[in-house]
């Protein structure tokens, strides 16, 4: 197995076209355990961290650009990103230990294609787009269109994610992410729930809600979103969100949780995530969320 370290997107796409059995990686936090567990070795491993664009984090007037290989610790350390997207940053900060955070990336969390990936529902509700490179140039794809099932993506052979685009939020917008794990730390979500709301004088004008770990891919919950838009965030609306979220699940039974449990928890977490996002959108966060996030 060869180790290759390109320094430009073009060099990487050339390497990938010359070595069809090559695999790209960023932090290697999924690749190495998978190889140790017996997954067939590729002919070459292509380290994308030597490419400046994949390691860049920048903001302009209209948007953020987050390199696909940027270690997540740099996102959780960014006060500016946290101020605008607290839900995205709290989702990212839940991936593994400090040791893992030094290495893991949004590109890796997305393209490893685990149904339970914490960052993915948060990227989806914030409308993030992936810039995907191949030998024939780049294309821009909604994050929601990348993962097609457990361990599989819509990326063609030789394609990789270069960076993510994230538009600055409109005024009076807030996001939140909550997950349920059997242990407080170092565990994989039974359910993850992300919500983003925009309010106008207490009335919801836009809502996106996505769930993780309850279906083969992260799922949007259009019925829950429809239950919010045009209305105040009151108990009736929150109850409708919970019911729609439970209904949207297509979960599995496994050692972490049963189907019935995941459905129930999905409703509860979606409701709480919407309530927190609404508090943040209205600028009156109670501060209760942080404790809830780690339970």
């Amino acid at each position: 197995m060869d180790y290759l370290s390109p320094v430009s997107v073009e060099e990487a796409t050339t390497m990938l076209s010359q070595t069809p059995d090559a695999r790209v990686f960023a932090g290697a936090t999924d690749v190495i355990p998978q190889l140790r567990a017996g997954r067939p070795e590729p002919q070459a491993l292509v380290d994308l961290k030597g490419i400046e664009r994949l390691m860049a984090l920048s903001q302009s007037d209209g948007s953020w650009t987050i390199g696909a290989a940027v270690p997540t610790v740099r996102l959780t350390e960014s006060a500016e990103l946290r101020a605008e997207f607290p839900g995205l940053v709290e989702a990212v900060g839940l991936i593994g230990s400090d040791q893992i955070q030094s290495r893991c990336s949004l590109g890796g969390n997305l393209c490893n294609a685990s149904p339970a990936a914490d960052s993915v529902p948060a990227m989806i509700v914030n409308g993030m787009r992936a810039v995907v490179a191949s030998g024939s140039g780049t294309r821009t794809v909604p994050v929601a269109d990348i993962v097609t099932g457990p361990g599989s993506t819509s990326l063609a052979q030789g394609e990789f994610v270069v960076e993510f685009e994230l538009d600055r939020p409109p005024a009076n917008t807030g996001d939140a992410y909550l997950r349920m794990t059997p242990r407080t730390e170092m565990d994989i979500a039974i359910v993850g729930a992300s919500a983003r709301l925009t309010l106008d004088d207490g009335v919801c004008t836009a809502a996106t809600i996505a769930l993780g770990a309850v279906a083969p891919t992260a799922v949007r919950v259009p019925d829950a979103e429809a239950a919010l838009v045009g209305r105040p965030i009151d108990d009736e609306a929150l109850a409708a969100v919970a019911a729609a979220a439970s209904e949207a699940c297509n979960p599995i039974d496994d050692k972490r949780g049963t189907i019935a449990y995941r459905r129930q928890v999905a409703g509860v977490l979606a409701r709480r995530a919407v309530a927190t996002a609404a508090e943040r959108a209205s600028g009156r966060e109670t501060g209760e969320h942080r404790d809830g996030a780690s339970q």
């Binding site: 190495i32 593994g96 290495r103």
Partner: protein, 169 residues
């Protein structure tokens, strides 16, 4: 397979070694460089026994390919003591009996150093979260957490010239 030549800085010294392209940093540190303080527990990033500081960030050496570290700066447990003096963390682990078998200890020390480098006065909760990536099967963790808090207090006192009494949680 041709071996790859790596030049890096470890514990303040410039180090050169040869490694295989698919070798982990953990294996290279132990087998090529001879730094056996870094331990293999799980080999999959769960236990933290192989924690090192890689360009200042705490990292599992088992989840790094050795060729990646060319040009980097690393600190291992062997680099904590200075001029024959144990690091305050090491001293507090000793005094507080914060170890039994000792296999996890180098990883805990390195992860704790990473915490105190960025947060010299952590709360107990912050220590527990910062060490969540390190597993110990012997101590039950409390002595480890207390040793880190004690070391932080000792270092604060030393920094302040002993003029203020640092508190432990």
């Amino acid at each position: 397979m041709t071996r790859t030549h790596i030049t890096c800085t470890i514990n303040g010294d410039e180090v050169e070694f040869l490694c295989d392209q698919d070798e982990t940093l953990l294996d290279a540190l132990r087998d090529e460089v001879g730094l056996t303080g870094v331990k293999e527990g799980c080999g999959t990033g769960d236990c933290g026994a192989c924690s090192v500081l890689l360009d200042g960030r705490v990292t599992c050496a088992c989840l790094v390919f050795a060729p990646e570290v060319d040009g980097t700066t690393m600190v291992t447990v062997e680099g904590l003591a200075e001029a024959g003096q144990l690091h305050p963390l090491q001293q507090c682990f000793l005094e507080g009996a914060a170890l039994q078998c000792g296999v996890c200890t180098p990883g805990f020390l390195v992860a704790a150093k990473a915490l105190l480098d960025r947060n010299p006065d952590p709360t107990e909760t912050e220590v527990r979260y910062a060490l969540a990536g390190n597993l110990c099967r012997c101590t039950g963790y409390d002595k480890i957490i207390r040793a880190v808090l004690d070391a932080a207090a000792d270092m604060q006192t030393a920094t302040n010239g002993g003029s203020t009494a640092a508190t432990t949680a």
